[in-house]
Symmetry: D4
Subunit: 252 residues, 8 copies
């Protein structure tokens, strides 16, 4: 906290110290010890969740099921909602052993544990894909946005090679408050959508393609160099990041 | 229009054709001819400006002063506000010959011609830089955002190598509705700011640095791979794009 | 359609509306609803096939056998020819369950379902490879071109390290109307062939090689930088794209 | 010749040797000496021009005006048409000293010396650009195609960020026999055009843009990875190559 | 030796030759034959270990268990301590067959065989990670440093997205004599730590992340371009190298 | 301060607040306001200089002479030593107008303003270059290290292509406490030196070379992949960074 | 042949045609049909073997055992020696079924079938490796050179991190007529050896290493940028190519 | 010397020490001090020149005329031949002030000072270029080879796009003992030549070209991945290196 406590909060605390309502030791604790606990391999950060009003997020890739279960266990003690991304079925099964509340979104590879209700906004986030193979990344974005309390409108497989399909869905685009465009290969869809709407567009390059797509680099560069204004780009295949940022914008 | 006209508009037009209020020829014109005029080398797009409620933008890099003046001349006939980016002094002088309303923001390298008042929001956009050399890009973002009707709070030279300077400005960060982080070299500032606030962050990598920064690649990759959520990235040195996207979000 | 309907078509439609032969609702439908159906994960585009006079193409990589079967099922209802590329044997077996007409080209990894006869041109497309390992990509091109109604002349393993082998086949090269050159490693064959013929050459870089070929980058760059004129390049290992483009040119 | 002489020609020559109509020495000459002359620094290749039925081409970049003049002088002796690309004004002035027939296309940076009439086809090549800054490359393609005897239809500044401008020109696209798409930045225009027409598309990435366009790499990768079929790609900024290939296809 | 023998040593040896205390043959041997023995596939270098006062190091990656056992066997004859890095469990089991003294650090993937006591310094090396997934690399550094006789203070999972966690551990940072910062993704932690302390920082980029991290390139570039002074960078995932360098500095 | 103040300092301050020796306002100031002043474009950080015991550093590249002079003016008020790197002669002349104490190291492109004496250590830093062209970077390192109070031993032009020259200087290498190796091209010198000494080596890749050195990338990769242990790498051409880190290590 | 037949040969042939000793048909055959036969997937080139005086080479990677066996079968009919590189044990077993003369070099992954004796030169090729992991590539070079009739002197594991080991083997280096240096990681060994000898050095970068070695790129760039003269570089891991080139030089 | 002195030489020296014919001090000097002198910025290496039997080489790029003159002055005292590469006219004029023997090869950008006669071999080195723009690099190679005492046969402008020109020169190729192939763009000429001859080929990629040639990378990769055996590659534009290596091979 110390570092992000504003002047008023600091003044109040110091006055309480001066007046004896708060002991020096307590104040040191307030200023210095943030509420995380040591699991040995990871420090669960309740603080951030409360600050952001969002569920706790676990990025499962590169963690063992055992590690993930320990983190989930800890988080459930505080009755937080949990969003576990990049979760295989083994992760889902592991979490199921801890709680029956776990729901698995297979295509999105997300496990959600819902403990508290979220305030849901009726402003819509449109999630749009160029092709069928981009859907898993799109679902990661969509499920993330839904779990964070947003309405989501899915518009899939409307890539620019058959642009009439995109235009046939233009009402979905026009209706959205924020748009997420998910595309691999040449990533042109982001520019076309960005030129059609006057709302913020989050572009997600995917690794879909082969050869000179270089694992998503072609779509990434295309999106960064878009001739349309109003586009922010996230990492290759980062559906979660797009869903999170779109939600943040949608709830302003 | 055809492609982005919604169902209601289309129906209305067709009914007018049916009832004879609109001739076939007129309808063909409505559906087919969008309001741009041919300058030979460039088609000025009044339509887009009206649709977005924003000033017309001219990206001057790669255009001659003569070409720019022709575009400005055309746009002024429609009484549009104009925002000319990447404009050297020669561009400014050229535009001055057309109108005394032109204002030149030297550091931002932007010329603004203001013809109509903008509705200004009191929600703030914070523009933050890591170093002194990042300021020109930051100013491009800031002047863009201001010209689009936003309040802007500048927090410059607060890079992570002296992180106390950033924290000393944390109230500016907390107060903002949207944040633009402009950084070259290792681009770490985006992650640190992204971890401190729960508002959308637009990250602008700059080409500031040398050697293994590879013209801004180091900052670009850092921002795309940020461990903090809620960050959207624009092209290297793309201050205008950041200001435009931030404004779009800020005015939702 | 709207977007690609020409002025005459539009006029005719509007006149029919005016004269009452077509209702407003019908016209809205004609202008707005393109003929695709929703499979949930993919929208089959009959429209495009009819427009191009070509079989429907399914790019199987990254799709499940189940998804592919659903698409094939749908397409067969319209009696279209089908060309499924990047198809393993499991895909072939899955399609066989739907129709006995499926033929599997193992080296090309293509499944063809033929329902309608194609008009076949007697102008030849030559498909030329540098080495033995380039043959799978070449076959993808050759089978594609054949399925699209072209004669194909295969000239394999005539790389520049033994250039007499290429010259011994020069009559095949001279006879062709369009040429496809498939080469990995240093991709030099495209330039040599391009210098020998005065017909269009489609160059396909392959990922054949190792080390500093960087997955086909060496051949790709060589072909893009060819000193011979009249060469168009497609993506690494994109045999289908080359066959499709060659067919398009051959049938002009 | 030897290497590209077909079997019949060879047989005929040998029979003439056998019958004494051609001496051994003459035959050796026929088989071995191709008609080029030594300028010291460059060997002018009349042979190729005659073979291809095209004007001689001089790529001026990296050559001195003196070298270029020597080549032009030599070529004019054979009454060939000449097409000099990447030619600055100094090159034009140098050639003017040799002949008053030289015409300079300033934007295209091409000098044409016309000595013989070309058979002109009435099938059209459309040359399309995304932006204003792409026009010099487009002009290099257009002037090349015109000089090679093709009709050219220019459709400039119709990038995807304002896609209605592209559709307003769809009749130009539909009318063309071959299309050249010239685009920098994210290069998305190639995919959109490729999805609209069923004619061959030559895509020319340009170096227009900044930052993460990496000198044209973004557009190049986008075009190679296009989701639309029927697209062949040439080198970055290679307008000449595109015009040449399009002409070759157009004249089949 | 010859090459690194200083002038005094050389003089002494030559005087002994002159005085007949050392024979010419012995001197040739001293100057020329360094103490290694030929195992056929690898030459064990006792010399270096003695020179550096450090254990022998075996980099196991790319070596068979059989090769590793031969090297270990040889080294044990000289009673050296052994540090085997990048060692899987099969390597550990293989070494166990040679000696019961082998200890396996599973996370670090290191086998240590301790034969001689090390002089241990009480100056501390802090090993800091951004995330949980960086721990294996950090442990390679930590175990290396410990085996080389240093005290190690582990500060894990304190990445910049929750920077209060880092500050809550600032006393650990301040106490250290040398710091090792291990981070993947955007690698920003190195800059933040480098700005907080006035001690040498060894930065270790890791391959943790996905997409545009390009196997650790993003963190590597970030660390090389750090705006904080006093940072030296080692190879991606090179925990051993960081531990070794830190120890070298710590023991000066 | 707050963030890097340790527990004891915090406790003491709070006790003083409690006891009334320090007012709440003063404590807020102590905790919150760090001693920097606003120059508009840059915040001079006296705090860091005092903390590190080092001169203030100005990185001149990308700053105007006017900006640099303002910073120098400010710093001189606090009687700090100043080290201005990447300084051209115009910078030197600008600083001379402020103070006669400025000394210009031309090859190093460094201006030093000395106001206070430094404690100088007699432990030596060796600065070693592969070639003559690497000397400017080496001098940046050497002058930096000297200005920070270290003895420096220059060993120039001893690259591995003539390795006897390196060995002829081996006593210089052996005598050093820390070594800086400056090399472009293939950067092999770092590995050879790293294998000869048991002291920390700071490797500085330079952009010296051409072609496939890719602006210093070849030397950078070589140094990162060194087979010798105990090497830390800084950015390409970053002589200052090497000198600073070496000094930090040398003064431990 | 045509293309590589010299003037004298051509003249002789034509004279024989003239004199009737050779029929026109025979001459056409001599000039046009080179002695290869069609296996369907590959054309075996006896011609080249005879021309070069070397065994036939089969690059097995990317070919099936069946394809390899067909090629071997064909080659054995002409009693050629055969060198099959990148051959796994399955390839060896397959060839064994055709002939008992096959010998397998496991580390080199080479199968040799010896049918004719080679003239062996007594000039030596030294094959030198930096580390143990480079040995498989070195063996590919060494066995290739031996099979081509050269004496080979192996000097393994003498990398620059312990440069005394290299110098202890300097007599081996001095004795060689051609040297092959095989090294991964930073590839510095090539420069050091190149600086010690005045004989041609063939440098083979290997993919040995990890992280920023980028699959051998670090060693490749280092070798290309070597400050030592007299070094030619082959592809990453291309032991065969080095052995072949060294043999060609050694037998001049 | 020490490091490259063989056993016999060492023994002889030690025996002389033992027998008192050489004093200890002298022997230390012999073993330790190699004959170079310190110019401050560069150590001239007479030793290497004598060892290699070659002229001294000065790489002028990155050195001032003053530095170059000092080196030349020093070298002339030993009556060495001098070869100064990458030398502009200013360098030539500077050297002329020292000696009238200096000859300037303008295209090659080489200055030669000839003081001693070279033994010239009558075995030829062929220097072959793909285009006119490659000639400066080729001349650097040719003049280097000539100055080192080789006959050189120039075959320029015979690139693969007009392959008959290459074949018309096949007798030049067949006659050569070593071949240097200089090519930019796609670098295909190296493979074609390598397939025609059974002599060593040195391939020199040049930076000639534009766009996706990435400063010579396309030709470099093509040459490294050549399907022809017997090719060694040097750095981009490294004509000197190719001439030097070819000479070394030619004089074996």
């Amino acid at each position: 906290m110390g570092t992000i406590m504003n002047e008023d909060g600091l003044k109040r605390l110091l006055e309480q110290v001066k007046e004896g309502h708060v002991s020096v030791e307590e104040a040191v604790g307030d200023l210095k010890n943030l509420p995380f606990e040591d699991l040995g391999f990871a420090k669960v950060d309740h603080h951030r969740s409360i600050r952001n009003g969002y569920p706790e997020v676990i990025f499962c890739q590169g963690k063992t099921v055992g590690q993930i279960k320990s983190i989930v266990q800890k988080l459930m003690e505080n009755n937080n909602n949990i969003l576990a991304t990049r979760a295989g079925e083994d992760v889902y099964k592991g979490i199921l052993e801890l709680t029956r509340d776990a729901v698995y979104y297979e295509t999105a590879r997300i496990v959600v544990v819902k403990r508290r209700d979220l305030i849901v906004t009726d402003k819509m986030i449109a999630v749009i894909t160029a092709g069928t193979s981009d859907i898993p990344v799109a679902e990661e974005a969509a499920v993330t946005a839904e779990t964070l309390g947003n309405g989501v409108d899915r518009v899939y497989d409307v890539g620019v090679a058959g642009i009439h399909r995109l235009f046939a869905n233009s009402d979905h685009l026009m209706r959205a408050n924020v748009l997420i465009v998910v595309a691999g290969m040449e990533g042109a869809l982001a520019s076309v959508v960005g030129g059609m709407v006057d709302k913020p567009v989050i572009a997600v390059p995917t690794s879909v393609g082969y050869g000179a797509n270089f694992g998503g680099l072609s779509a990434l560069l295309a999106m960064l160099n878009s001739c349309a204004s109003g586009i922010g780009v996230v990492n290759i295949d980062n559906g979660f990041g797009a869903g999170y940022l779109a939600s943040m914008i949608n709830k302003l």
